[in-house]
Amino acid sequence: MRQLARTFLLFILMSGTAMAQEGHPLKGSWIGEWTGNATHGDFVLLVLDWDGKNITGVINPGTDNMVIEKAELDPTDWSVTIQAGGYEIEGTINALELPSRSIVGTWKNQDRGGKLEISRQ
């Protein structure tokens, strides 16, 4: 199953360039891995939005829906923190100028933690 998810992720990453996004840098779909996640698998999908005041969204929509409870972007260093469903994600936006920018950092819940790397689609 994990192998299947990896294959799917690879397919998604190779299937085209990201949609342009010149507005809020977090807005959009982000796909990648949070490695070592025994509960939800290595594959992760975030859908993020910006309403002018708050970053909203969901982790893994349609499967193990986790509505984002709190998310913050610090534009002084483009660091990101996201809390949802007992998870806490910390990372930094890389290659801000690209539609396919990424967030690299860590994830943790009360039991485990690991690396996180997601790219905007």
Partner: protein, 376 residues
């Protein structure tokens, strides 16, 4: 026959590219500072090998011999449109001519130069210099022309003949109350002025500064052929043309920049239905515009913008929450006054207004330039 000429030209360009030592992106359009280092001044003297007279930039290739070694350099100049306006043509220089060039070198170290001055070595005569070709306005303003319905005509009339609006007095969005130095690409003279340009939210200010620090090299209009949506269409040297379709109760704004795109402003009383998903009359990059005349001013409301483009030279961000409140007026025959109030609670802390004028360029059609030429 035409095909063989094209093949020959392609071969020439390919050879020129090889001579450059694999310098990529020689054709790409860009703000000057995005590609060339203003602090790396250079002087070259050599023999012209090829003049590539094509948009977006003219290139003169020159063999330069130094210490017995000859290398080919590319001297990049303004577009043929601009050079032609200044009286130059594709055969101003020919292979074999000797020239002296002063300019600045490419940041990537390749043998490319932005030509600030080109002089014919034997005569000392400057070539390919750019003149200010903005039309002179008459000392006494001429009255604005009227359409058949008695309203001020924003575009051409039978009596006026050909013409378009060009030479904007501002090249980037800046709140009217601010006075900030920047170049025609919207590059700030001082980054510390960024916060004065508009009432930006924190993330939007940081993103604007980031784009400025990268010297606008990520501008999607240049690198991805994205249209100059929003107020940006009125900030281009290439101008606009306004066509009033009285019977159809709509106004078309034709753009000299971008893809020769156009936007439609509906004056038939339909309700505003802008949506970022778009539809046939809501073309995403230009939003959906409805307007009405208030006296001699055309007042327009536009929503439904996507976030795939920069809505101003210089890289001010916007979001899909953007609504533009625009006013078009023609105080005299030679002046178009444009005013826009930006309402975007996604990127700005309050509404703000910018305005500028464009000049009537009489007797000419819009310059022909396609943004597809911006890409290598």
């Amino acid at each position: 026959m035409k095909k063989s000429i094209l093949k020959k030209k392609t071969l020439h360009l390919a050879l020129a590219g090889c001579l450059l030592g694999g310098a990529a992106g020689v054709q790409a359009h860009h703000p000057i500072q995005a590609k060339f280092d203003r602090n790396a001044e250079i002087t070259l003297s050599g023999v012209v090998t090829l003049v590539d007279w094509s948009n977006p930039h003219t290139h003169v290739f020159v063999n330069v011999t130094d210490a017995g070694v000859t290398q080919n350099w590319a001297v990049e100049l303004e577009s043929p449109i601009t050079l032609k306006d200044s009286g130059w043509s594709s055969d101003t220089l020919k292979p074999g001519d000797k020239i002296d060039v002063q300019g600045i070198r490419a940041k990537n170290g390749s043998r490319q130069v932005w030509g600030e001055s080109v002089v014919a070595s034997e005569t000392g005569t400057p070539v390919f210099s750019v003149k200010d070709t903005a039309p002179l306005k008459p000392a006494e303003p001429r009255p604005a022309p009227k359409s058949s319905d008695g309203k001020v005509a924003l575009g051409n009339t039978l009596e006026l003949g050909d013409g378009y609006w060009g030479y904007p007095t501002e090249y980037a969005l800046v709140e009217d109350s601010a006075s900030i130095e920047m170049d025609k690409y919207g590059q700030l003279a001082s980054l510390s002025d960024a916060s004065k340009v508009a009432p930006l939210q924190d993330w939007a200010l940081a993103l604007y500064q980031y784009r400025q620090q990268r010297e606008l090299q990520d501008d999607p209009m240049f690198i991805n052929c994205k249209p100059p949506g929003g107020p940006r269409q009125y900030q281009s040297d290439l101008g606009i043309k306004i066509l009033e379709d009285k019977a159809g109760q709509r106004v078309f704004v034709m753009m000299g920049s971008g893809n020769h795109n156009f936007r439609i402003i509906y004056l038939d009383g339909r309700s505003q239905a802008g949506q970022v998903s778009g539809d046939d009359d809501n073309p995403l990059y230009f939003g959906r515009s409805v307007g009405q005349w208030e006296g001699d001013t055309l007042v327009v409301n536009t929503t439904g913008f996507n976030e795939d483009f920069w809505f101003s030279n210089g890289g001010l961000p916007h979001t899909s929450m953007l609504t533009l409140h625009e006013k078009f007026s023609r105080p005299d025959l030679d002046t178009l006054h444009y005013e826009v109030t930006v309402e975007d609670p996604g990127a700005y802390t309050r509404n703000w207004t910018a305005s500028w004028d464009m000049s009537w360029v009489s007797g000419k059609e819009l310059p022909v330039h396609f943004c597809q030429d911006n890409r290598p």
